[in-house]
């Protein structure tokens, strides 16, 4: 049954196409740039006709950057690895800490629970620099500066509130009676949490985890201040492409493509579960 007129469908199609082009064009352009040399990128006027080359990727992966001023060592692959370690580590930790906490905040009203939850959220409002300065000093004293552990800890400022608040909403949407029906059948609250509440909130947890991963992946300022060269993620590492002899657009583009890839892959993979969760529906009692 389609009672929309042909014109209306055309207009909708055009509008959708515009939106897609608007959002996808920069990515497409970056991909094209990553396959060109600096000379072809910088020629004027720009053109989409060129002979593709993989030399940017090769340079990144081998870690040697050839510039007019000579060869330069870059640590892009280890930066990428650092990004993976930091993002995965902090999301995992945030899930382990945040999901049970979200459940507690959703199910139990205790003294000050609202205040604690709000305080955690307020970490998101504070400018990062506000906490960074004291943290740097403390971390140096504690020996946490420039360790994965210390960085993952600080990344909780980003991930934990996100996961806590999103997942809490999902838990609140589950009728408590569904859990009680299971508990009264002789199951402990822990078994109920694992077998009833967690699966029902699964899509929400996946969404929150994905979002937290993206935020952690894109973080710049914490890593810039607290990490030295060998712990830096790609966001900070990319600064190395701004060299004395100019900006290496080709390599930057290739680096961007490589650093988008994991998030994109994760999003595509998680999407299945997100959609599955939505179609399961009728979680509310």
């Amino acid at each position: 049954m389609d009672h929309r007129s042909l014109l209306e469908r055309w207009l909708r199609g055009i509008a959708l196409a515009l939106v897609v082009v608007f959002f996808m064009f920069p990515i497409l352009w970056i991909v094209l740039m990553s396959l060109q040399t600096n000379e072809t990128i910088l020629r004027s006027p720009p053109s989409v006709v060129f002979t593709p080359t993989l030399q940017n990727y090769a340079a990144l992966i081998s870690g040697r950057l050839e510039t007019e001023a000579g060869a330069l060592d870059i640590a892009f692959m280890s930066n990428l690895m650092n990004s993976v370690i930091l993002s995965v580590g902090s999301v995992a930790l945030a899930l382990v800490l945040g999901v049970p906490a979200a459940y507690a905040f959703a199910r139990h009203r205790f003294r000050g629970s609202e205040d604690i939850a709000f305080t955690l959220l307020s970490f998101r409002f504070a400018p990062p620099l506000l906490v960074l300065l004291p943290l740097t000093l403390y971390f140096q004293d504690l020996g946490l500066a420039d360790t994965y552990f210390g960085l993952i800890w600080v990344y909780q400022l980003i991930c934990l509130p996100l996961i806590l608040w999103i997942v809490r909403g999902y838990f609140e949407d589950i009728s408590p009676d569904i859990e009680l029906a299971y508990r009264i059948a002789g199951h402990s609250w822990w078994a109920t949490f694992r077998r009833i509440a967690l699966p029902l909130a699964g899509p929400g947890i996946a969404a929150a985890g994905l979002l937290a991963f993206i935020f952690a992946w894109n973080n710049f300022i914490f890593a810039l201040v607290l990490a030295s060269a060998d712990k830096q993620p790609v966001t900070v590492g990319a600064l190395a492409f701004v060299t004395a002899s100019g900006i290496q657009y080709g390599q930057i583009a290739a680096a961007v493509v490589l650093s988008i890839a994991p998030t994109l892959a994760l999003a595509l993979w998680a999407q299945r579960y997100l959609v599955e969760g939505l179609s399961l529906g009728a979680v509310k009692g």
Partner: protein
Amino acid sequence: MSAPLLVLDRVNKIYDPDGPNPVHAVRDLDLAVNPGEIVALLGSSGCGKTSTLRMIAGFEAVSAGSITLAGRAIHDLAPARRNVAMAFEGYALYPPLTVRENIAFALKSRRRDRDGIARRVAEIARLLEIEDILDRYPSQISGGQQQRASLARALIRPADLHLLDEPMGQLEPQLRAHLRGRLKHFIREGGLTVILVTHDQTEANALADRIAVMEGGVLQQFDSPARLRERPANLFTGAFIGEPPMNLLEAEVEARDGRIIFRLKGGAPLDYPAGELSPALLEWLRRGGRVTLGVRPHRVRIGPGGLPAQVLANQWLGDQSHVAASFAGGVIVSVEHDRVPHGPGAEIGLTIALADLHIFDPASGRAIGHGGRLVEET
């Protein structure tokens, strides 16, 4: 008589006690349920029925008082350790599981053998007529079907006590009446002890051995259906139980010349020989003053003689007549089993036998006498 299975002793529930609007949902509730008994909780919406069940099940903390089940004080135990089964007002089926799995998960936790579980599920599904939807998901079935699935899940579990919160509220009257018989048979067969909440008095009368009437969080009366009808403890139960509701008449008591006269508004006298009243009731009434009289519509007789009344409406319901008449400054309803010829405006005579008269104290609402005897004598 054996010791009661469940004892509620001065149980109170206050929601949000420290908040700005505390709700005292259940007040000083005493209730004792015998093993194998079916008890119905009856009362208007919001009177605290669900709160009571949830305290027994352990989903709400008891604010004050104690609950004992099978000799154990359970009010501080986790729900899992109370050995109680419950069917929820909102069904609470688990969405990712089929109806069959939902029903079975109450048993699975007990590690019963697969064949045994399958047999039990099939049996209960046949009983409640949900065999054809066993393999569907809760989101794919109707409200009434969800309700029966949730009832099945509660009934299938062996437990000391089964709590059923409005177990058949979503079903059409025919199916409800039909399932009611089977349900009762199943409960008796299995020797289950059941507390069920219902809004349907017919259902309460048909299923329950005793009915607990609640209002405003207070237990009004806990008695057999027959006694609730014949011996209401106060004005509330009197008016709440029975359809159509009891007729209530304000009266002034007068005792003279060996007769007791209840002078109704407008002067009409209900006049009985004092000798037909028990001496104790007579003594109480001799003090004079105001009383509220109650009489069930089925017991108001239309016929020659009697007090004058004027018909306002006369409805034949297919098996009985409901006649509303203006009487003693108000309206009185009479139910007759035959057709009544009088149309609106007709003058009729009404008789009310002393045996059918309930006398209440208008100030406190407490019942004083039934059928010519003091409450304490009945």
